[in-house]
Each structure stands twice: as structure tokens, then as C-alpha cells.
Symmetry: C2
Subunit: 98 residues, 2 copies
Amino acid sequence: MELDKAAVCLSKLGNPARLAMFRLLVKAGDEGLAVGDIQKELDMPHSTLSHHISHMMTSGLLIQSREGRVLRCRLDYQLTNSLLDYLMEDCCNGLQEA
Amino acid sequence: MELDKAAVCLSKLGNPARLAMFRLLVKAGDEGLAVGDIQKELDMPHSTLSHHISHMMTSGLLIQSREGRVLRCRLDYQLTNSLLDYLMEDCCNGLQEA
DNA sequence: ATATTATTTCTATATTTATCGAAATAATAT
DNA sequence: ATATTATTTCGATAAATATAGAAATAATAT
């Protein structure tokens, strides 16, 4: 993971609405959630939610796939894990690592 | 960790300059780094760096202590760990947990 | 007391981000 | 074809964040 990429991902997560959405998707796992499901949970105007979702998509953290008229959202777990790894990379002069 | 607190921390990390600083501090471990050391590594105007440092402090991620005329910066590792834990809390309907 | 080094605060401007109503698009059902 | 449901795009405004020069403060050394 590169610094700028990580910073973009973190900045997307650094918004309460998007962080709440991220957590819903973490819970949902591979099954993911339809935009409408997220909508029900987070209760905000469609346009605002859509804006936040598109932020998550451009960062790569969120992936959408269409199922009929429903758009299903899933986290990119691999990217999510790389991001978390990146944060603790080279921790404590490597003392904590193996 | 509460959602809003986590979002604040993540938003602070979601800036390239601050993320770079965070990573320097992760590497530095308990020893920490003087503001001047960070300055040398990141090479930006004093006022800009100071602004970023104060962001990190108000979020609680960074702790300063004075040593003579030098201010030494350290990460709050406990808070950092809570933050990372929070992101993966209740992952995948708990399937991944014990 | 004065100078030096380390760092912050003040102030202003530029840039980015958030919010959301209204209109538009996409897919399906009648 | 028309209606219905799901979701996005447009467009405008408000709010937050980033940048940095200049002046100020803090600690130490002379």
C-alpha cells in the first residue's frame, strides 16, 4: 500500500456517516448489503448517501454489483486488510514483529 | 471506542502529511520523536507542521512531553489499537472471531 | 539582559468536503 | 407504453480543512 492511497482510504473512513456504513458492511461480510438496506439503517437523504457511497467506491474500499434493480455493496476485504497492515508497518523498530 | 471518536481519529490519519507523521511515530515506538525530528523528515513550514501536530493531539493519537526546549511526540498506542480493533469489530457476523 | 534554538499562535486565503432538493436514469412489473 | 421501485447525477450552498508567512512564546546558554 502506498501512502497516498492509504490516506485517501482513511479520509473516507474519517467521516461518521461513512464509518457507520463501513461497519455495517464489516458486519455483513461477503453477503454485503443493498444500498436500500444501508439507507434504512443510516436514514439520510438518498443523494447524501449516494455521495458517500461513491466516495467509498472511488477509494476502492467498496465494490458494487447490480442484482436486478438493487445495487449490492461489499467491502474489498483485501484492501481493507492492506490498509490496516499499512498503519502498523515497521512498528516499534520491528521489535514487535517476529 | 465510540463512532464519533473513531471517525475523528481516522480523519486525522486521512491526510498524507499526518499519515506520514503517524508512520514515523509508529516506527519510533516508545522513544518517540522530537518535533524537530519530524520537521527534518517531513520538510514543511513550521506553522503547517505545528497545525498537523495539534490535530493529532486533539484527537488523542499523539501525546507531547517537554524535554527542555524540545517537545517530544509519542503515539498513544492504546488508543491506536482501540481504533484498529474498532474497525473490525463484529466482523463477518462474528464468524471470524472465536 | 541578550541571543539562540525550538515550537506555537495569529491571520488570511485557497481548497476540499458535506449536505440535500430536484431531476434523471435503470430495471422490472403491469 | 406506463407505472413503480431503486439509485444516481446535477447544481447550489454551507462548513470544514489545509497552507503558510509573520509574530509571539518557551527554554536554555552566554
